[in-house]
């Protein structure tokens, strides 16, 4: 038992080493970081980097954070609004059953950089460059395959007789979706919603391509401390730690839902 505990601690330390070093550096003085980059165990803690984040004249941390929150929440909501009925239609009515899921998986398998230039041009024409809505829309597109796949698997597990019974007793499709399918899909919706939020929050590529000033998310903003004069590791670490807090908290709260939803259907019963 003790041996197992030691192994767990060692593995946890190895896996979380980047996060732990960032956390510790965010509380170390700049001079300590420069003089001993790996001196994690003996240092005078300081909050100066956290203060600098909010006092910086050109780094608008609050704006980047709000942009990321809108990107994450908006992108997730849009993906669920589109993906939920799409998955239901694919599974229950067979619309695009043989093509849609295949196309979605192929598109999602491509590296996103392939879409960077055409998306940029489209957004430019549509006036969506450097807008929060445009970024949320991009997050929706990125997350849509995941949402559709997870929810389609979930609907396949739900007996179709429930829909049929509702239909026999007078419910139309909209009523079935709103009053029956959504309540029965709470776990799946929470799981896929949280995964989508985390994906959207961490989105960097399109954050760089599609924003310039007003809609910069925190994933891009955190890199502004890497300049040609060097990297302010302390402030960068503080920014990174504050920016990972929302998705980390969500993940801790919801990991049970995610595990349960992703293994739905693995075992008949």
């Amino acid at each position: 038992m003790l041996q197992r505990g030691i192994v767990f601690v060692l593995v946890a330390l190895v896996l979380n080493f980047p996060v732990l070093t960032t956390l510790i550096n965010s509380f170390r003085k700049r001079i300590d970081i420069q003089n001993s980059p790996l001196g994690f165990f003996a240092f005078d803690p300081t909050l100066e980097h956290y203060r600098k984040v909010f006092e910086h004249s050109t780094f608008h941390f609050q704006d980047y954070l709000i942009n990321s929150l809108i990107l994450g929440a908006g992108g997730t909501l849009l993906a669920l609004l589109v993906g939920f009925p799409a998955a239901y239609a694919i599974v229950r009515f067979g619309h695009g059953r043989h093509t849609m899921l295949t196309v979605l998986s192929c598109v999602r398998a491509l590296p996103l950089i392939v879409f960077a230039v055409p998306i940029y041009l489209l957004f430019q024409i549509a006036g969506l460059l450097d807008t929060r809505f445009g970024l949320a829309l991009m997050a929706c597109l990125i997350n849509l395959p995941l949402v559709v796949f997870v929810l389609a698997a979930h609907f396949q597990e739900l007996p179709s007789e429930i829909d049929e019974a509702a239909r026999v007793f007078g419910a139309g499709t909209l009523r079935i979706v709103v009053h029956i399918m959504i309540p029965l899909s709470q776990s799946a919706l929470i799981a896929v919603g949280i995964l989508s939020f985390i994906n959207a929050w961490n989105e960097y590529l399109f954050g760089v391509f599609l924003t310039s000033k007003s809609a910069i998310p925190i994933s891009v903003g955190a890199t502004f401390f890497a300049t040609n004069l060097g990297v302010d590791w302390g402030v960068a670490s503080a920014v990174l730690m504050m920016s990972v807090l929302p998705p980390m908290c969500l993940g801790l709260v919801s990991y049970r839902y995610i595990g349960r939803s992703l293994t739905t259907g693995a075992v008949k019963g």
Partner: protein, 358 residues
């Protein structure tokens, strides 16, 4: 006026024909049972009546109205599913009131109706529970209550008892029969269990490979099955069947078995071959040499009220006879087996009934 009419109903999935030329006229309040082996199309036929599938050709009329192309909710019917299909997130009360809520009834009307039905089904104390907190029989009652609440013209049951254990199945069969007597609604019931069919039906429709083999009252089908399939399907244990060559012999006939033995038969309308059918209750154990044939006892099933005696007869053909428990022979005994001519069913070379002993 017929409550349910099916005219030339056919259903195909692509080139695969599931049902062909189904015709049926039911009377109001009749309890009709569709019975047949798995894959015969009985559940598909029920789903066509319900509107969950569309017909390939033909018409369906319910209460005088052509409902062939109507949605299920417009057909004035209610269905009880094999798996109950209760809504897991709703309470028993909300499940039972679901149809009325979809029809936009007032909440106090829904509440009153649900209370009334719950009282009839002895479920008042369960109204606040969720389906997952109920036993199989209780869930079945909720499904029936949900169907009753909408006061349909037609009740449909799709193998509602197949998920229950034997004892509960017997109890629920009684409850369904009792409800039918009290409500007097036309009911279409699908089952693969011929005992359920015999026990519940005013009329049985035997389906096989998408066709109606025979329809009629349970006893009419039992005593005068139209063909070997119906004779084999109804009755437990299965009817004893013996096939052989047949030839006329004056005013009678002769059934020639594989081992060369010949049995005396009435004159029947067949050529070449004939099949003799004898139900287990018609085959009686008697003294050696005094019956139709002699046979060795290979198995005795003592079932409490009676016994089934399995015999290895002429040509190693297996027979089943019914006996009183206290009169049943022992394993290995060699006994005689006799049958009254009135208990013989004769089938022609096309396996259709051509003579009974009646």
């Amino acid at each position: 006026m017929s409550e349910l009419t099916l005219q030339n109903i056919g259903k195909s999935f692509g080139e695969h024909v599931i049902l062909k030329d189904i015709n049926l006229h039911s009377q109001r309040g009749e309890f009709i049972v569709f019975v047949g082996p798995s894959g015969c199309g009985k559940s598909t036929l029920l789903r066509l009546i319900c509107g969950l599938e569309t017909v390939t050709h033909g018409q369906i009329h319910i209460a005088g109205k052509d409902v062939t192309h109507m949605a299920p909710a417009q057909r004035q019917l209610a269905m009880v599913f094999q798996s109950y299909a209760l809504f897991p997130h709703l309470s028993v009360r909300d499940n039972m009131g679901y149809g009325l809520r979809c029809a936009h009834f007032d909440e106090h009307v829904i509440g009153h109706k649900v209370d009334q039905i719950a009282s009839m089904l002895q479920m008042t104390h369960l109204l606040h529970r969720k389906p997952k907190d109920l036993s199989g029989g209780q869930r079945q009652r909720v499904a029936i209550g949900r169907a009753m609440a909408v006061e349909p013209s037609l009740f449909l049951f799709d193998e509602p008892l197949s998920n229950l254990d034997a004892g509960l199945r017997h109890t629920m069969r009684f409850e369904i029969a009792k409800l039918h007597r009290e409500l007097g609604k036309t009911t279409v019931y699908v089952t693969h269990d011929q005992i359920e069919a015999m026990g519940l039906a005013d009329r049985i429709v035997v389906l096989n490979q998408g066709r109606i083999e025979q329809m009629g009252s349970p006893m009419a089908l039992y005593q005068s099955p139209a063909n070997v399939f119906v004779a084999s399907f109804l009755g437990s244990p299965n009817i004893n069947l013996l096939q052989g060559g047949w030839q006329p012999n004056g005013a009678h006939g002769q059934l020639i078995l594989k081992d060369g033995s010949q049995w005396h038969t009435p004159l029947i309308n067949t050529s070449g071959t004939a099949t003799l059918g004898i139900r287990s209750e018609g085959l009686r154990i008697c003294n050696l040499g005094q019956g139709l044939f002699d046979a060795r006892v290979i198995l005795v099933e003592r079932l409490g009220s009676h016994a089934h005696v399995y015999l290895d007869g002429p040509g190693h053909h297996r027979w089943v006879a019914r006996s009183e428990v206290h009169e049943a022979p022992s394993l290995g005994d060699v006994v005689g087996a006799t049958v009254h001519p009135k208990d013989m069913l004769w089938f022609d070379d096309q396996q259709n009934l051509c003579s009974t002993g009646q």
